[in-house]
Each structure stands twice: as structure tokens, then as C-alpha cells.
């Protein structure tokens, strides 16, 4: 029964990902006083792309064709790490956060290679900027997760969530506030949202992720779009699970799981509103100010780790 619930969690993360994207896009349009597309639009897009054919440049090799597949499979495995409705996940024991972060890096590595294989300047530009952002984002990512893990004295994500569930809501912990700040900044950088990268543009001045996927079309592009949606959803789910998991089911029973699912939907919607408000109100950072942004995230993450030893709370 627990395995069924875990598989269900992973499926929620994978299949519900385009919906989260749709909600954010619609909220942003409303904030910009437009009507906006339906929140189910991304599903339509992905299905439409699957029906089309792949256009491949003559100079590309097998890496170009395989990159979206490997990116998608690494995102699927990442989705199996995060608890959604109860404090357990498919890859539970031994599924620690280092593996989570490096599986994300695995997908990103092959996406960058695919971008370079396109043979145009845009792929190289996107890959080079992505190399800058991702190499600087790894440190705060791991530092903030390490701080939370030290407090919980375990490293597997499901275990940390279980530990957090046992803490009282009203105990304010400096480590958690600092780790949340750092992780939220890293989420913005890793998923390519404002103010680090603009996910809705195709101008060469402003694109990092979009530049890398410029050459892709058809089912490959569908897989890539879906993968970036899964990444966003998984990171939002990680933020919720690590810092505000109360509301998750304690026992694996149908009613409790449904209730937990409703609570989770409310939390994700709240985070989506937050993301859209931030995206609509901030301008994109200049390229060479992004390392500063990530530097602040690293410093806050380092402070979180320092606090685990000093304040122990």
C-alpha cells in the first residue's frame, strides 16, 4: 500500500507539472492585465508537439537526439525523491539530497551538450551562461540542504520530512529560515525564472534556458518542456516538504491521503502566486549580477550551516 502511495506521489509530480506551469502563466497574465491562456494549455502544447516530427540539423550527432531523452529520465528519477502527501518517497532509504542535486546536474549536463551540438551560436551562448549559473548555484543548493539535514541528523529527504513533521509549527528556527531563503534563491536560478532568466522570451540578450533548446522541435521539444516543468514542480514540492510539511498524512489511508493532497494543492497554489508576483514585479538581473545573487545565496546557506553548530536550532 505504501509503495502504491509512493508511485502515486511520483505520478502527481510528473503529470501535474504542466498544470503548475499553466497556473503560474495565467496568474502572470492576470497581473499584467491580460486574460491569459487556460491553465490546461501546457498539456495541449506538449501533446501537440508529440504529434509533430523532429527536425534535426545535418551536423548533429546522436548526442543531440539523446539529450532530451536523458534529461527527461533524470527528471523522472528526481521526482521519485520528493514526498508530497506522506513522509515517504519511492527512493527512500539512501535517497539523499546529494543524489537529488546531482541527478538534476546529470540532466543539465546532457542538455548543455545537446545545445552545443546544434551547431549555432545560440546553443553555445545558452550553454555557456547556463554553465556559469549552474556551477555557482550548486554550492548554496547543497549548503542549505546540508544545514537542514544536520538539524534532522539524517540525509535522506523523506527522513528529513518525517523529522520536520514531528517539530511544532511555532518553533521558529533560524537555520530553517536561512536555509529556506537560500533554497528559494537557488530554485529561482535553477528553474530559470525571473530575475535570473526569462522563461517566456526568445531574445538572445535575455535567454539562458531558452537559448539551449532553440534547435529542438517536435517530440524532443515536448520532452524538454515537460522536463523543465517537472523540475519546477519538484523544487516547489521540495520547498514545501522540507519547510512546511504539516498537513501530510500520518497513515496510509485513502481519506488521509486525499486530505493531504488537497492541502498540498493549496500550498502549491500559494507558492505559484508568490512566484508569479515576484516574476511580474522584478526586472531580470544583468548577466554579471547573477553571480552576485547566487553569492548572497551561498553566504546565507553558509550562515545556515554555521547556525546549526552555534544555535543548534
Amino acid at each position: 500500500m505504501r509503495i502504491a502511495a509512493d508511485i502515486l506521489q511520483a505520478l502527481i509530480l510528473i503529470l501535474g507539472a504542466p498544470l503548475v506551469r499553466g497556473i503560474i502563466a495565467r496568474l502572470k497574465s492576470r497581473l499584467q492585465r491580460r486574460r491569459g491562456a487556460s491553465i490546461w494549455r501546457p498539456y495541449g502544447e506538449i501533446l501537440k508537439l508529440f504529434r509533430k516530427e523532429n527536425l534535426v540539423a545535418p551536423t548533429s550527432s546522436a548526442v543531440f537526439r539523446l539529450a532530451p531523452v536523458l534529461l527527461f529520465s533524470s527528471m523522472v528519477s528526481v521526482a521519485a525523491f520528493v514526498p508530497v502527501v506522506h513522509a515517504s518517497a519511492l527512493l527512500r532509504s539512501g535517497g539523499d539530497f546529494f543524489l537529488f542535486v546531482y541527478l538534476l546536474a546529470f540532466g543539465r549536463f546532457f542538455l548543455s551538450l545537446g545545445a552545443l551540438d546544434g551547431g549555432s551560436a545560440f546553443g553555445g551562448m545558452g550553454a555557456s551562461r547556463e554553465a556559469l549559473v549552474s556551477s555557482l548555484a550548486e554550492a548554496p543548493f547543497l549548503l542549505s540542504l546540508a544545514a537542514v539535514a544536520i538539524l534532522a541528523s539524517r540525509a535522506d529527504i523523506a527522513g528529513i520530512v518525517a523529522w520536520t513533521l514531528q517539530q511544532s509549527v511555532f518553533n521558529i528556527s533560524a537555520v530553517h529560515i536561512l536555509a529556506f531563503t537560500s533554497l528559494a534563491m537557488v530554485t529561482v536560478a535553477e528553474t530559470g525564472r525571473m530575475p535570473v532568466d526569462n522563461p517566456t522570451t526568445h531574445l538572445e540578450l535575455t535567454m539562458i534556458h531558452e537559448g539551449m533548446v532553440l534547435e529542438y522541435s517536435g517530440p524532443s521539444l515536448a520532452l524538454i518542456e515537460w522536463s523543465s516543468a517537472i523540475k519546477l514542480h519538484s523544487m516547489l514540492a521540495l520547498l514545501i516538504a522540507l519547510f512546511c510539511p504539516w498537513g501530510m498524512a500520518y497513515r496510509v489511508s485513502v481519506w488521509q491521503l486525499l486530505l493531504a493532497l488537497a492541502v498540498y494543492c493549496a500550498k502549491v497554489t500559494f507558492l505559484a502566486i508568490l512566484v508569479s508576483v515576484i516574476e511580474s514585479s522584478m526586472a531580470k538581473l544583468r548577466m554579471y549580477l547573477v553571480p552576485d545573487f547566487l553569492g548572497v545565496a551561498s553566504a546565507v546557506g553558509a550562515l545556515a550551516v554555521i547556525f546549526t553548530a552555534l544555535a543548534k536550532r
Binding site: 511555532f170 518553533n171 521558529i172 528556527s173 533560524a174 529560515i177 553571480p291 552576485d292 553569492g295 548572497v296 551561498s298 553566504a299 546565507v300 553558509a302 550562515l303 554555521i306 552555534l310 544555535a311
Partner: protein, 220 residues
């Protein structure tokens, strides 16, 4: 326990966390108005702590101190600052001489240092480590702001944050400073600010700017 009791308990156990947050945000703040707001938030946290301790330890004079802090440092001084910035028509930017990353690392090092410094003292006086470390960090942050921000208004703000730290440290270690001394300190600060405000006007009139790094004519 009633709600107020729980609330005071929570305030007392976690106010240092909020103070650290305001310190970090001050380190990365880019605009003068943001810094002023953060200072008033800081003072609000300190006022809350004073009021909570007053409630828990049943000291009536402490209520007066808390209300004073609230009126003067949370409302009066920040409003005066806002009025000052508008009248002086200064540019909004804080003109920091360190990048935000460097500032946060320096502040992190200072927090680590303050924890190390108060550890042995805190054990001797039976005072929680966090609160004392927050006070020392406030002092160091005030000094850091004065050193690294080039706008004269930020120097004043740095001094105010420094004074916040001293006030908090005195409060924690000797709770029950006589009321007279507290009022005296407040008046000191008020007069000092008044003088600094007058000077700021004169400097701005004479030099047409308030950038401290450009006032080097005193060099021999």
C-alpha cells in the same frame, strides 16, 4: 496558559532570529528607504522583547521603556529620516563599497565572531547565548554600516543600529536599568540626531552632495 502568555514565550525565545534576519537584510539593502524600514523593524522587535519581558517578569517600568522604544525608535526617528531624505533630495542608492556577496560574508563572519565572544560570558551570567550574540552582532553591524556605506545618512543609520545593539546588550545583562538612565540615553540620541540633521543640511547646501567619500578636503 492564555494566548498572551504563549505569545510572550515565543517572542522571548525567537526574537534573536528576527534580529539576525534584519542584520542580513541590512547588509544587502540597496536603497536608503529600505534600510530605514529595516531599522524600524529592528527596533520593533526590540520593543516587543522589552514588552514581553515586562509581562513575564512583571516590571511596570519596563512597560514604560517598551512604549518609549516604540514611540521614539519605531515611529519618530524613522519618520524624521524619511522627511530628511525627501527634503535633501538625495539619490536613493546606498552607495556601498562592498558587493552584496562580500557584505553578507562579512556579516556572517561577524555573527560567528559574536557567538564565539559571548559564549563564556553568557554561561557565567545565565543569559541565553542567542540574545547576547544578537546584541553584539548589532553593534558590529552598525560599525560595519558606518564604515562601508558612503552616504552620510547611512552613517547616521549605522550609529543608530549600533545604539540599538548597546541598548539590547544592557537590557539583557542587567534587566532593570533604572528608568532615569534609559530616558537619559533616549534624550542623548535625540539631541545627537538633531545635530546630525542640522549638519546634514549644511553639508548638503555647501557641497551639493552627501557622499562622504568625496569630502576629503580636510586632508593635510
Amino acid at each position: 496558559m492564555n494566548l498572551v502568555g504563549i505569545a510572550t514565550g515565543k517572542v522571548l525565545s525567537s526574537f534573536s532570529v528576527f534580529l539576525f534576519l534584519t542584520i542580513l537584510l541590512l547588509a544587502v539593502a540597496r536603497r536608503i528607504s529600505t534600510s530605514i524600514l529595516l531599522f524600524s523593524l529592528q527596533s520593533a522587535v526590540i520593543a516587543a522583547e522589552v514588552l514581553a519581558t515586562a509581562f513575564q517578569q512583571k516590571l511596570p517600568e519596563a512597560y514604560v521603556v517598551g512604549i518609549l522604544v516604540l514611540l521614539i525608535k519605531v515611529i519618530a526617528i524613522p519618520s524624521a529620516f524619511f522627511v530628511l531624505t525627501r527634503r535633501l533630495k538625495t539619490v536613493r542608492d546606498v552607495k556601498a563599497s562592498t558587493t552584496p556577496t562580500q557584505s553578507v560574508f562579512i556579516v556572517a563572519a561577524m555573527i560567528y565572531l559574536s557567538y564565539g565572544a559571548v559564549h563564556s560570558y553568557g554561561q557565567a551570567v545565565h543569559v541565553p547565548d542567542d540574545a547576547l550574540a544578537a546584541a553584539v552582532s548589532l553593534i558590529l553591524t552598525g560599525a560595519f554600516l558606518m564604515v562601508s556605506r558612503k552616504k552620510a545618512l547611512m552613517q547616521m543609520l549605522g550609529l543608530l543600529v549600533l545604539e540599538n545593539g548597546i541598548f539590547l546588550a544592557a537590557l539583557i545583562t542587567t534587566f532593570g536599568m533604572p528608568l532615569v538612565i534609559e530616558i537619559g540615553i533616549f534624550f542623548d540620541i535625540l539631541i545627537g540626531l538633531l545635530l546630525m540633521g542640522i549638519f546634514a543640511f549644511r553639508i548638503s547646501d555647501t557641497f551639493e552632495h552627501l557622499d562622504v567619500s568625496r569630502m576629503r578636503r580636510l586632508r593635510g
